[in-house]
Amino acid sequence: MNALKLKKGASGKSAYDLKNPLGDLIETHTIAVLVDNEAGVLARVIGLFAGRGYNIESLTVAEVDHTGHLSRITIVTTGTPAVIEQIKAQLARIVPVHEVHDLTVEGPSVERELAMLKVAGKANDRVEAMRLAEIFRASVVDTTLESFVFEITGAPSKIDAFVDLMRPLGLIEIARTGVAAMLRGST
């Protein structure tokens, strides 16, 4: 991890600047953070984002190394290039943080999300939902005479598209996991 891959880009803006601090181009970045799986570590990360006014678009966390007690947090965030650099530097100085990787910069990376959708359509809508699910390679994990629960995995944009298609077909509930991401290739 090189916490100081400093790019000169957007001009520095302080909280005291009167003009819109987001005047620069807003970018979306996916950041993977390896942390000690100890009490309060998620609160530290979330508290950092809340306290300094950064955005969280998606956040997932789970232990990935049981013996080493390490968890991986995947955060999708948005901000100007300067803000993104600041987010990474701030994350890196949290004591239980081991590594910070900007997958958007270090990429290309694979991003996947799992979603479950409950669709309660009638007659033709029910048939159409089933047909679209096949196209999207969503699987049915629960069914009644009135409803399906679909499970779909993919990039967030694919899930967004599937959700939009299901909406008029009787979509009544959605659960999404948030993004897990990994660099492509062998490193």
């Binding site: 302080s14 005291y16 508290g47 650099e85 600041q86 701030q90 004591v95």
Partner: protein, 584 residues
């Protein structure tokens, strides 16, 4: 080889093993087992404060004046929450501090027990790191880790919350050397390529300036020595933030004075007009930069900092150098010398003649009076009568703090303790107590305002109890002077709640605490009053009645660039516009 002992014994043992000689604290129900152990030993001195906020600031004063971490011991609930201001103060000023807070027993956590508070939750954003220890077997390791975190990298406050049952239970004690190495090992050596780039820039620079900060002090006395060598060798001018005063001597030839909102004209204009700015351990605070867009528009900027998040946070720099100031300066000097100690002599000569023009403005001049004590005059006399002493200065926050920074000269690091980042009124008195505990023979003076002093005046009791001869020099204008100044300049002279009615009689107050009180209101008697204060072997309050409406100049109004400074009363008309008014 481990030793079995109770959690409370471990706390005391770990403090001894970490070389702690002093703890500032206040007992309470959940902390009783630790206090019982404190009672049964003599190696660690416990200073009983009168309020836990006082303990935290005293520990800051101790830490800032010694370079060692300050240690605080408090009970659960209100004991812990009362340290919050001190923790935040230490976080913003990068002061190493270890706070041990007791907690209700683990089986009562979450039940809203008596004196229960979610201490780690409350202190998470105001510590560098904190821990709740639920297992006595993990306590020793956590204590040692806490000292490691507080003192490595950018120093800061840490807190360990210790439930009462964990204090009572028995477990294995691990000595500091046996603890597994923490992955938290901040980089101290700077990148040689970047340092070389800075040397190249220094060789060419026509108008360079060193802009130094608290990071030089935190890096240790060696860093200040290297800085002095570098300044003497290059002949570059040097300015410093409030937090960095003393790293370079105020009597040094290249000293421009402090920079920033109330900094000197020459320092701020040098920052504005320079072509190479070398930031060493400072953080481009808003009190320094003024309006960001107009901050030193034509300069190449280098920034040496141990905290990567400080670099490019506010100001984008050209040469970032991540590392400890001492280590980086060592390499920097080595490289600069090996390349032949080059500077742009002709450029520098012109630059200095420009600086001399700015110096000639004499920006700190003020109109003295025969009948009233001007606060600036009071500081000048204090300086004249104490500068040759083994002297430490603390301050409260406000106008008096800025006058102290402007008129007192600091020749060495660790001699100046002030709340820079958080601006905590009530810091100075307890901080002076912490300094005096660490330096019993030295002269320790808290330059205070009447309003700030009242915020933690209960600590006069601590000073008396422990026979700490701290000198409280109150510049008493019966006003919240800085608030009043801003209301005058910014809010149409509507002085909303900025004067102190019903002030106590400070002489009687001193006497009520068993200290000495002196009042002075005539400039002719000022020197005698200061001498009397210094001569008394015990705590003193010197109530120095000063001109009530004096404003602190120079001043860069909020939202203005460095080259639009106000130099005195005549220049204040309409100086701050609506845009500036929303800033702090």
């Amino acid at each position: 080889m481990t030793r079995q002992m109770s959690g409370a014994q471990m706390v005391v043992q770990a403090l001894k093993d970490q070389g702690v000689d002093t703890v500032f604290g206040y007992p309470g129900g959940a902390a009783l087992p630790i206090y019982d152990e404190i009672f049964q030993q003599n190696e660690i001195r416990h200073i009983l404060v009168r309020h836990e906020q006082g303990a935290a600031h005293a520990a800051e004063g101790y830490a800032r004046s010694t370079g060692k971490p300050g240690v605080v011991l408090v009970t659960s609930g209100p004991g812990a929450t009362n340290t919050v201001t001190g923790l935040m103060d230490a976080l913003l000023d990068s002061i190493p501090m270890v706070v041990l807070s007791a907690q209700v027993p683990t089986f009562m956590i979450g039940t809203d027990a008596f004196q229960e508070a979610d201490t780690v939750g409350i202190t998470r954003p105001c510590t560098k790191h904190n821990w709740l220890v639920k297992d006595t077997n993990k306590l020793a390791e956590t204590l040692h880790q806490a000292f490691h975190v507080a003192t490595s990298g950018r120093p800061g406050p840490v807190l360990i919350d210790i439930p009462k049952d964990v204090q009572f239970a028995t477990g294995d004690y691990i000595a500091p050397g046996k603890v597994k190495i923490s992955h938290y090992q901040p980089r101290v050596k700077g990148d040689i390529e970047a340092i070389t780039a800075l040397v190249e820039a220094m060789e060419k620079a026509k108008r360079p300036v060193f802009y130094t900060g608290g990071g030089v002090i935190n890096s240790g006395k060696g860093a200040s020595q290297l800085l002095r060598e570098l300044v003497a060798g290059t002949g570059f001018p040097i300015t410093s933030t409030l937090m960095g005063l003393g790293a370079y001597p105020a009597s040094g030839d290249n000293w421009l004075g402090m920079l920033g909102m109330h900094g000197t004209y020459e320092a701020n204009l040098a920052m504005h007009d320079c072509d190479l700015m070398i930031n060493i351990g400072a953080r481009f605070d808003d009190r320094i930069t003024g309006r960001i867009e107009d901050f030193s528009p034509r300069s190449k900027k280098a920034h040496i900092d141990i905290d990567a998040s400080s670099i490019n946070k506010v100001i984008q720099v050209d040469i970032p150098i991540l590392g400890d100031v001492g280590h980086v300066l060592e390499d920097l000097l080595k490289i600069w010398k090996s390349r032949g100690r080059k500077t742009n002599a002709e450029g520098l000569k012109k630059w200095w003649s420009k600086i001399e023009e700015w110096r000639a403005v004499d920006c700190l001049k003020y109109k003295n009076s025969d009948s009233l004590i001007k606060p600036q005059y009071a500081m000048q006399r204090l300086e004249a009568l104490t500068k040759d002493m083994d002297r430490y200065i603390t301050t409260e926050v406000g106008q008096h703090q800025m006058w102290a920074a402007q008129f007192l000269g600091f020749e060495d690091p660790n001699r100046w303790m002030t709340s820079g980042g958080l601006g905590t009124m009530g810091y100075g008195l307890p901080a002076s107590i912490g300094v005096q505990v660490a330096h019993p023979e030295a002269v320790v003076i808290n330059v205070a305002g009447d309003a700030s002093f009242l915020m933690n005046m209960q600590e006069m009791g601590t000073a008396t109890q422990f026979n700490l001869p701290v000198k409280q020099f109150i510049l008493n204008n019966e006003r919240l002077g800085m608030v009043r100044q801003w209301q005058q300049l910014l809010h149409g002279e509507r002085y909303s709640h900025s004067w102190s009615e019903s002030l106590p009689d400070f002489v009687k107050l001193a006497e009520a605490f068993g200290a000495k009180g002196i009042l002075v209101d005539d400039p002719k008697n000022l020197d005698d009053a200061i001498r009397e204060m210094l001569a008394h072997d015990g705590p003193v309050i010197l109530d120095c009645l000063v001109e009530k409406h004096e404003n602190c100049f120079p001043m860069i109004p909020s939202g203005k660039p460095h080259n639009e400074m106000l130099l005195g009363e005549a220049s204040t008309e309409g100086a701050i516009d609506a845009g500036g008014a929303v800033l702090v």
